[in-house]
Symmetry: C2
Subunit: 127 residues, 2 copies
Amino acid sequence: MANTDDPLSITFAALADPTRRAILTRLARGEATVGELGEPFEMSAPAISKHLRVLESAGLIAREVDARWRICRLRAEPMHDAHDWLEAYRRHWEGNLDRLVEFVERTHRAEAKKPASGAPRAPRKKP
Amino acid sequence: MANTDDPLSITFAALADPTRRAILTRLARGEATVGELGEPFEMSAPAISKHLRVLESAGLIAREVDARWRICRLRAEPMHDAHDWLEAYRRHWEGNLDRLVEFVERTHRAEAKKPASGAPRAPRKKP
DNA sequence: CTATCGATTAACCAAGTGGTTAATTGAAGG
DNA sequence: CCTTCAATTAACCACTTGGTTAATCGATAG
């Protein structure tokens, strides 16, 4: 995941870590300092700092300096695009559509060796 | 992202790549062979094969052997959990709640040096 | 001024990622 | 039998990631 990646990839990559997701969950309850955010984890302070930098550069948190504390707060906007992207696949998981398509195809396989309906794969030439 | 990661992390990590997301988008239109999936990308066949392996071990696609072709189809179920996780943050991005909270806090900062409402951060002892 | 505290940066490491080319497997066809 | 084709595996590469410890920075307290 280079820094040249698109925003959606950066968002998903930032979310692909349980520590970072837990930090976001904590921040959903309200702002917190870096020390407070790191307290639940058996992890060094620099490790937390790195996680926060990933979240910040993904635009998922904002940091503000208050004396010698850094106050972190959630910026959930990037999640909106990720949510929207997933939304397009809702019909595929709802009603077990995946399994239905698979069932129909598997059922018809013995009768006719061609893909089930709704699967417009270009026919492979198999003379 | 080690193979010991939790399912949600594996799902998000699999989605954190534009090539893999494009493959999933293509599969949403119907099943396809590995060759068909790789055709739009200026990328070697082994590279596509690796992406497909990531998607398969994340449970996002299934492969089936048909003669010398591997038919890939979408398995969207893991996206459901990812979608649900993001759903919990909807109120934070809807109505620009983030900016609202920030505005309220920033407005009251000069009057009273304490966190804005809805931010139950443990008070740092600053005698 | 000095010590301390919250947090970050620096330097390093093991492991993973995303890509390559070359070799391999397995099925189809002349 | 031999070739060809779809796809994967093997071996390798540059780069990233997630973690560490040690050093640094800035602000506060004494």
